[in-house]
Amino acid sequence: MDSSQAAHASAAHDEGHASVQTYIRVAVVLAILTAIEIGSLYVPGLPNHALVTLILIFGTLKFALVVAFFMHLRYDNKLLTVLFVGPLVIATAIILAIMALFGAYLLLARG
């Protein structure tokens, strides 16, 4: 494939990526979220169920930011989102099913 074909091909599947400034802003937010996530471990008197909830929320936010901005799913064709989110939902269901089958509710039952 020559360069003009590559450019056309690129135009065919890319609907535009974020700017470098956006990438840096996202990285700063990721760093702040990580700092809060780790810092929450050292908050005295924080109940375990609140700690687990906080960690799960911050982890999910970080995951979503990387997928949406760094992996460009926010800007790309929705078919790619379906290709990734479909198996991700199945994977989450697998985790919950295995935990239920083994009676492993330790993750949320503490505190």
């Binding site: 470098v20 990438y23 990580t34 996530e37 960690i55 990387v66 760094f70 198996p87 985790i95 492993a104």
Partner: protein, 199 residues
């Protein structure tokens, strides 16, 4: 039909969906990887707290050290998108620098993991010690192998760039390599939260 549409129609890499097969294939692969790591994470959580002998996670996991390595991997994702942006705008000088730095950060993460594994073995935790050891080493070991593969891929891209064989016309190759790299990062975000941070 416009000239642009004709060029796209003539491109064997563009299918009836209008998407590039290579990029779509990578996303399908990453989808299958979600289920692979989902199974390993599910197994770890199912056996959590069920080891009949020690050492257990609370006695052995070093959260401050792993926080540093997790942060290194997270920031390598920023370097990867900076590399892609540089290649796309034909700034190959910075493209090479960011690609190499991403590989260095990835290698740093693998170094942290080798140190951690060695330390755990010295403390008496191996694959055979207990359920925690088996599930922990299999899960984090497979992740480490993925990161190692990613570092090799990044170094291959960097070598191509150094030889002048990687330019803006190859930005899709860098983007696909980046998709894989970001994926190993998001898997670690999940592993770090579920295995290291949750008590």
């Amino acid at each position: 039909m416009s000239a642009e549409h004709a060029a796209v129609a003539d491109n064997p890499n563009i299918g009836c969906t209008g998407l590039d097969h290579r990029k779509m294939g990578m996303w399908a692969f990453l989808g299958s990887e979600c289920m692979f790591f989902g199974s390993l994470i599910g197994t770890y959580l199912a056996y959590k707290g069920k080891s009949i002998n020690g050492p257990g996670p609370h006695e052995i996991l070093n959260i401050p050290l792993t926080s540093v390595s997790a942060f290194v991997l997270l920031m390598s994702s920023l370097l990867m998108v900076l590399a892609l942006a540089a290649v796309q705008r034909n700034d190959m000088k910075w493209g090479k620098i960011w690609l190499f730095m991403t590989a260095v950060f990835g290698a740093g993460f693998v170094g942290f993991q080798i140190f951690e594994f060695t330390h755990f073995v010295h403390l008496g935790l191996t694959l055979q010690t207990n359920l925690f050891g088996s599930t922990f080493f299999v899960l984090t070991g497979f992740h480490g192998a993925h990161v190692t593969g990613g570092v090799i891929w990044l170094l291959a891209m960097w070598t191509l760039a150094m030889r002048g064989k990687l330019g803006p016309q190859d930005s899709l190759k860098v983007e696909i390599c980046g998709l894989y790299w970001h994926f190993v990062d998001i898997v670690w975000i999940v592993i770090f939260a579920l295995i290291y941070l949750i008590p």
